[in-house]
């Protein structure tokens, strides 16, 4: 989990130091395969002429007609897009945020208290072992079908990487840092917010990033079961109404959503943890 972040960080630092020209070339070097794949897909799909595999151009045109040809007052989104996109993204972010708050809070407590983690760790190990989709039937009974149940599924599914990483980060605060905090008599709040949280931040961010991609998965899973809106619902609905280009379009939307979320997260992480990346480079 940590390797992914540090590798991403190093990569960012490299392109930063080697200047923009080299960075642009690097992007081009990595990107050349994408148009090639798209062209191959297009040709293959036209050749095959199967209704299950529409060519990309058909998918994109269809996506435009379905969702992005709305009035300017709605940011060019059609009614169908407005009905399905925001609820999905909202539930995803809300679930992720709730899991973040609970995961970091509980993780810090468990990481800093041996007694507490002694009691709770075994329970967590069992709870963690349950695949989140298996709990959907339970959540349907417990909560109302719809947003509540979907939120519960997302929170339950994405909390583990955050929790486990936070516990790890909070547990391994450097001894000299902890000694320094004690010697200079830092209060509880100062210790939490100025020492433990920043010290654990690289680990916490690694967990949050993993959780964000998990949240996309669980959002879709939860929307495939008895939902009335959302991207997952849209995929299912398009499939059931034999609009296969629409189904593919919803999948493309999902991948764009996942990409944008991950890129935004990296953008924020790079700023918040810039001290970490730069400190590691100097030592």
């Amino acid at each position: 989990m940590t390797t992914t972040t540090s590798r991403a960080g190093r990569h960012a630092a490299e392109s930063g130091t080697e200047g923009g020209r080299r960075g642009l070339l690097g992007v081009l070097e990595q990107m050349w395969l994408i148009p090639l794949v798209l062209v191959a897909w297009e040709l293959g799909a036209r050749q095959g002429d199967s209704i299950y595999f529409p060519p990309p151009t058909t998918i994109v045109t269809h996506m435009y007609e379905l969702w992005f040809s709305g009035p300017a007052s709605h940011l060019f989104l059609t009614e169908e897009a407005v009905d399905n996109l925001p609820p999905s993204v909202g539930r995803l972010l809300a679930g992720w945020a709730i899991a973040g708050v609970i995961g970091v809070g509980l993780g810090i407590a468990l990481g800093r208290s041996k007694a507490l983690s002694g009691y709770i760790d075994p329970i967590l190990e069992f709870a963690r072992a349950i695949p989140p989709p298996a709990l959907i039937p339970l959540f349907i009974v417990l909560f109302k079908l719809g947003t509540q149940m979907q939120l519960a599924t997302i929170v339950y599914g994405v909390i583990w990487p955050i929790l486990v990483n936070t516990v790890d980060g909070a547990r391994h605060v450097d001894r000299v840092h902890a000694d320094t905090a004690q010697v200079f008599g830092l209060g509880r709040r100062q210790r939490l917010f100025r020492i433990i949280l920043p010290a654990a931040a690289p680990k916490i961010f690694a967990g949050l990033r993993l959780s964000l991609s998990l949240a996309v998965i669980l959002m879709v899973v939860s929307e495939l079961v008895g939902a009335t809106d959302g991207l997952g619902y849209l995929i299912l609905f398009k499939q059931q109404s034999f609009d296969l280009a629409g189904m593919w379009g919803a999948m493309v939307l999902l991948s764009i959503l996942g990409f944008v979320l991950n890129a935004s997260f990296l953008f924020v992480e790079r700023r918040v943890l810039s001290w970490h990346r730069r400190a590691q480079q100097t030592t």
Binding site: D179, V183, F184, G185, L186, W275, H276, R278
Partner: protein
């Protein structure tokens, strides 16, 4: 000011137990700079950690101004050997120095000002907005000293403070300690394994022997102030003192040049 009475500490229990401190008695007077010198691994750090309240000694007592202390004393500062782990890399140098000052009261601006003053005293006025890892090792240790200064402790503990810097930087930092100590009439207990350093810096040198650590000797250093890296070290009195400390550190072992 500081009295350590019959301090003992044993790590672990049973057959694997290791006694690090074997009944140490020492005291530091108000305004005095005392160096504790001993071979590596003799329990010097255990002694310092006990005084700082970072470990609970198994027996004995620590008194500061005649009050027995069991927890970390409220007006004590420590300069650790490992500056890179003692300073917080996520804070600027200025914030590192100002962080412990909240306890001393005063608003944010006052704490900032106090931190700036302390940084100026160690010659790092311009570094307040930098991060610790942007500075050299010697400069980082100066920041750690500035943090201790700004805290205005009644007792400053230093644990091998110059063990991780090069010789030139080490001399500069030694003179910095002498300077700020003179300026603030601070009480300092400095732990080192370097015999020359203990004589150069100390008003008094306390020599420990190894496993378990006990005091084997104590020497008053009556060298003139201000001390000078070249002139002081060539004084016959300095040469004599370091020989005497060296003899105490080595113990009664005879000189055996052909044995490893």
């Amino acid at each position: 000011m500081l009295d350590v009475v019959n301090l003992s500490h044993t790590y672990g229990k049973g057959p694997s137990a290791h006694q690090a401190l074997g009944g140490i008695d020492l005291n530091v007077a108000e305004g005095e700079l005392v160096c504790v010198v001993g071979p590596s691994g003799c329990g010097k750090s255990t002694l310092l950690r006990s005084i700082a309240g970072l470990i609970k000694p198994t027996a004995g007592q620590i008194r500061i101004r005649d009050v027995a202390v069991s927890d970390t004393p409220g007006d004590l500062a420590v300069v650790f050997q490992d500056y890179s782990r003692s300073l917080f890399p996520w804070m600027t140098v200025g914030d590192n120095v100002a962080l412990p000052l909240r306890r001393r009261g005063g608003d944010r601006a006052a704490r900032r000002a106090a931190a700036a003053d302390a940084l100026e005293e160690v010659g790092l006025a311009a570094a307040a907005t930098k991060y610790p890892w942007e500075l050299s090792g010697g400069m980082q240790q100066r920041v750690a000293i500035a943090r201790a200064l700004a805290y205005r402790p009644s007792l400053l503990l230093m644990d091998e403070p110059f063990g991780s810097v090069d010789a030139q930087t080490r001399e500069d930092l030694e003179d910095l300690v002498l300077k700020v100590r003179e300026l603030h009439r601070m009480t300092v207990l400095l732990i080192t394994h370097d015999i020359d350093e203990s004589v150069y810096l100390g008003d008094r040198v306390i020599v420990l022997k190894k496993s378990p650590a006990t005091v084997v000797g104590e020497l008053s250093v009556k060298l003139p102030f201000p001390r000078d890296q070249i002139a002081t070290r060539e004084l016959p009195a300095f040469v004599h003192l370091r020989a005497e400390v060296g003899r105490l550190v080595r113990g009664k072992d005879p000189f055996r040049p052909f044995q490893a």
